[in-house]
Symmetry: C2
Subunit: 188 residues, 2 copies
């Protein structure tokens, strides 16, 4: 039984879908959730939960939570379709956008966790550096305080980077390549 062209196309899509899903695990999503995104990426029209469920062969519950996760990061958005009670979803297809919002989120989170600790801990260390009873503890505390203080430069740097990514300023420094529209089989 010979393969139809439509099947061949689907297989080509599937290769790409797997690759997209795989590349997304580095961004902390499971392969299943990655596949949901990738299926939406190729969808020609907004898909419902049930559409997606059929396509990825997962339970509706999993698709529901997966979709929510993707919406939280902005990779998927819900669209309203007149005359249909079901929710419809589409993928944000701009990889730049997806990358940047992931980075911004991650960097802000990191800065938050570290900054809170630095804020709490550095004064305690400075205090011990000045007032600890034995001189060895004072010395170590002073060294620790400097170490912790040094990390602040990193924190302000990643915030600058995050801000540049959020505002699009990053593209002033690293421009988007011209998009090579429509030409067959060439490479960078």
């Amino acid at each position: 039984m010979p393969e139809t062209d439509a099947q061949r196309l689907q297989e080509a899509r599937d290769v790409m879908i797997s690759a997209i899903a795989q590349s997304m695990v580095a961004y902390g999503v499971t392969p299943s959730v990655g596949r949901i995104y990738a299926v939406l990426y190729f969808a020609e029209a907004p898909m419902t939960l049930d559409d997606i469920k059929d396509e990825v062969a997962m339970s509706k519950a999993s698709v529901s939570t997966g979709i929510r996760e993707l919406m939280d990061t902005g990779m998927v958005v819900k669209v309203w379709k007149k005359g249909d009670r079901k929710d419809h979803y589409i993928a944000e297809r701009d990889f730049f956008q997806n990358f940047l919002s992931f980075m911004v989120k991650m960097l802000r989170l990191e800065r938050g966790v570290l900054y809170k600790a630095v804020e709490q801990v550095e004064p305690q260390m400075r205090d011990l550096a000045d007032n600890a009873a034995d001189s060895e503890t004072r010395e170590i505390a002073a060294k620790d305080a400097e170490l912790v203080n040094g990390s602040k430069a990193y924190l302000t740097w990643i915030m600058r980077l995050a801000n540049a990514m959020e505002s699009g300023d990053i593209f002033a420094h690293f421009p988007r390549p011209e998009s090579d529209e429509g030409s067959a089989g060439r490479e960078s």
Copy 2:
């Protein structure tokens, strides 16, 4: 029983150690491995496997694999200590360096996975766009081919970013902040 200053210092360290470990999970390491790194970060001298094992309360096997993982990403290096048969380890304390090498590794990996798929799939789609039997398949294939082609711009962009991060060029665009040396209790 009153707390000693040394204990107080250790507690302050522990807060920072937890925060560092927590911030590292975003980079794909487990909290345990993060703690190994953070303990080494504060260590005043190179530590052996057994030193670390005692400090983090894990099995030697886990510490061994954890350390290897950290060495693979360059966050920890092995140092040789004359007269001691044990291996000694120190942390790479430069957060900038750690961040950049993580990013470079991740971006290269992503580009590799996606590029391989694009390379394989785009010609197939172009072929179907030209030669598929029915016109609908031809149209969809053409659209898919464009979609896939469009992702190439993203791939070259992340490679530029990775290269700038690897070479240090990134700091020409986003300079490291002046490091605010030695001043007590101030903030950015």
